[in-house]
Subunit: 519 residues, 2 copies
């Protein structure tokens, strides 16, 4: 239903209501719009796994019990394709273990029999990392039954959760003990802790709290040979040797299977203020961010950039959304500040905005006067990707550049893409404070959608080239998976790729973990 | 002069004045107090490096030029021992390259000739990681001439500094552009960026800003074979493959040589308030921390725990220090809150302390009324380690446990050590908010110092056993180096050690990088 390639503001009641209205991801209509297939053969450049025999499959099934070894096409289907149907595949079997011991036994057998394993959490990934290839030779290892919260420690500000715990449940558990687990993204109602760690998810509060990587103190990981690394530390400081956590976080299940994690909790903000500001340019938005951070620093929890066309598209196609300001402005930012100390927070935001208007940095601004108005502001931001579909086909990029370079990047990329595709409608938006822009390009009005989408690779190449010239990243928060695997050698230097391949060989010498993904 | 095993509050004028009064570290008097030697032969469990021939040494010298290849005993001396003289060694040569290319050429030659390289920054490490063994077969690679600040980007909040840039210079460069580089520790006037990253240094502001690991966006690293990994990214978000940064941070120069880093900058706090509070127990201190964090969260930049004996020792032996509160209390915390928003900060601290006193959590408190009083408060904290020498020999531990477990850890470790060494004087102090306690034990009054120090290993074993029972760390911030190398197999599980050894083999197959350290 939605072609969203970007984690959205999954916060507050509206976000929740919207997602619920979408129903199960797997009831979604097949999409006509889609990303192009990788030019690679699935296992090109990787060790080809051995197709499991009936006998081997029976041994796998006996580890989890027949009820949790899914073999029929209908049982397997929800694990073989993701909800947008950009990536569909075929698995030899789907295994749903209940314990770390079962995961360990599965990997040990897979390693011995050279069977490919595709780890999967909530199946909400956006780059095809969690679904099997079309070969029918791979086993999907679904972690959703490892769903225990093993420990909640509000005094120590930690939460120890198994890989299959749904993100929203972790947030709710934190709230139950008056704490905040700040990772927040649109898929939070179905994505899992193991998944968000394996993809190092970002979301709308990364500006202050960092990405998933920054929120993990310890890990439990099943290695490719079935051994278990018990690294569930709860320590803020530990300098006893090499840090192994960060090898597995963001590795998209290619180096080991995360089965549990110790997550950091934070105090819950007691005050929050939300505003929409109109601005002449991305430069002005950056200036405003800098003013706001100088004034309230760590309290700026969200700072989301939107071009006018995004506002227009949402208000034209979402009956519940209205223009947030009295007149039109070329650019907008949605700002949220949050703090434990209610004193002066709202006033600081108000004063900063007033001064910015006086100085010509902002042209208008509105503070949310109620929770309802706050939710209405967030709804606009959340609807951008979904309503962009109303403009026809769109070619998407999840990129980042140094924060200070965002305005120059937007200017150069916009000019270049407009030259390549005259009449295209540019919709660069996203997490300005993280330097993370979803540079989305909608087709020209009344143009042929397929002809436009045929330009996907060419537009990608152009935009990614400009990203590279700013020392940026072609995947800021969604990962590599299958979608960007072919692009990696073009953006990483040979030494870094060699180090990555060495790590892969060291940790998965038989290439059984998610082959044909990332590397 | 000082037996300090703990990074102290290196902030403000007093800290600076004190360090300057100490003069050059290398003029320090030899210490009578010392940690015991490792029971290992230097290279036990590691590949023994090849002693470099005169010919090989000449080839090394030709890379940097004769002026920067130090061979005489007097030229080498400052690089062969650290200032406390706990660790002394003998190098075949000291090389002082000026560029990354020279470092690369040195490592390439070392790898070809199997010559051991000991990377060194400011030579302020506390566990013997940066000095050569006694064999005379190793080359010290001093990075202090790589001292360029390559870029300062206040808009993007980054600072790109070479490995040899002294920490204080990085702080000052940040201040010059109205930013904060928050890493702060007692050695900041001489330790270097390469050194603090290689040891993942902590210090007195880790509570909010994290350790060195949390402050680095990108790295440039010369690998063991002389190849250079150009990973100087400035991105807040980058999910294009495995994260290699964290492999090298905290690896103590055993996996690669960090030559430059992109560091994160922050807005400078415009308001600060400092207080000393007296409390009945560490439990009460933890309660106070939790109240304060619930009120001002990210503004609690320091929260340092001290027992009464620490106050008594300082005021008895430092003529410039006075009791911070009117009467004596069993425990104290030194609190600092910092913020960009001056509104209400001091009032929040005051109100929290007043409520804590009313609730019996604190028994008394004083807010610093002037910069002078603030510095006097910090001076007490800074003098603890130094003045502890007046009590005679002391056996030290740099440990961490989960924050919530600190009170129980202190109680159990204190009881156990008091049983083992009746009459000993316990001085557990440090970074309560990080769970990081410097559990120092002074000898009983009038006891024989050598006899007491002979118990070093036994006391260590006892304390570290209790640390382990809390899932803690035997090196919270100082690292492993030589000092704790023999202890590592006792505290790491076999799988983690195996992963560490695999990483070492992968990145340094010939074992030339700092052999006999860490692993």
């Amino acid at each position: 239903m939605t072609s969203d390639l970007s984690p959205l503001a999954g916060r507050g009641q509206i976000a929740r209501a919207r997602r619920e209205s979408l129903g199960s991801p797997f009831n979604a209509e097949p999409m006509t719009e889609h990303a192009p297939r990788s030019p690679f053969h699935p296992y090109e450049g990787a060790l080809p796994p051995t197709p499991p025999s009936a006998q081997v499959l029976a041994r796998f099934a006996s580890i989890v019990g027949e009820n949790y070894a899914l073999t029929s096409a209908s049982d397997r289907a929800p694990y073989e394709r993701e909800w947008r149907e950009h990536f569909t595949g075929k698995a030899a079997m789907v295994l749903r273990p209940k314990s770390v011991d079962e995961v360990a036994a599965i990997l040990k057998l897979a390693n011995e029999t050279r069977t490919a394993i595709v780890p999967q959490g909530g199946n909400t990934g956006l780059v095809g990392g969690q679904t099997p290839h079309e070969t029918g030779h791979e086993i999907v290892l679904s972690l959703t039954r490892l769903d225990r919260i093993r420990d909640t420690d509000p005094a120590g500000n930690t939460l120890t959760a198994e890989a299959g715990v749904v993100l929203r449940r972790a947030q709710e558990e934190a709230a139950r003990v008056e704490r905040l687990f700040p990772l927040s993204l649109s898929a939070e109602g179905s994505c899992t802790i193991g998944g968000v760690l394996s993809t190092n998810a970002g979301g709308v509060q990364a500006l202050v709290y960092g990405t998933a990587r920054d929120l993990v103190l310890g890990l439990e990981v099943v290695l490719a040979d079935g051994r278990v690394w018990h690294g569930l530390r709860r320590l803020k400081k530990d300098n006893t040797g090499y840090d192994l956590r960060h090898i597995f976080v963001g590795a998209e299940g290619t180096l080991g299977v995360i089965t549990a994690a110790v997550l950091k909790l934070f105090p819950r903000p007691s005050a929050q203020a939300t505003a929409f500001a109109g601005l002449p340019s991305p430069e002005a938005a950056l200036d405003l961010l800098s003013r706001l951070q100088a004034r309230v620093s760590g309290a700026v929890t969200s700072f989301e950039l939107l071009p006018r066309i995004a506002i227009e598209t949402v208000i034209a196609h979402d009956p519940l959304s209205r223009d947030p300001l009295a007149s039109a402005h070329p650019w907008y930012v949605l700002i949220e500040v949050s703090s434990q100390s209610p004193e002066g927070l709202r006033e600081s935001l108000e004063a900063t905005l007033a001064q910015a208007i006086e100085d010509g940095v902002a042209t208008d601004a509105a503070l949310a006067q109620s929770l309802e108005q706050r939710n209405a502001f967030w709804r606009i931001r959340e609807m951008v990707s979904e309503k962009q579909k109303a403009l026809g086909g769109s070619i998407k990029h999840d990129v980042s550049v140094p924060v200070a370079a965002v305005p120059a990047f937007i200017a150069r990329a916009s000019a270049a893409v407009a030259r390549l595709v005259p009449g295209c409608r540019l919709m660069p938006f996203g997490h300005l404070g993280d330097g993370n822009i979803h540079f989305n390009v909608s087709q020209p009005q009344d143009a042929d959608k397929d002809a436009f989408l045929a330009l996907w690779n060419e537009v990608n190449e152009l935009v990614h080239g400009i990203v590279a010239s700013f020392g940026g990243s072609i995947s800021a928060e969604h990962g590599i998976g299958r979608l960007k695997r072919a692009l990696l050698p073009g953006v990483k230097d040979a030494i870094e790729l060699d180090l990555m391949r060495s790590l892969k060989r060291m940790l998965d010498p038989n290439g059984i973990l998610n082959p044909g993904k990332v590397l």
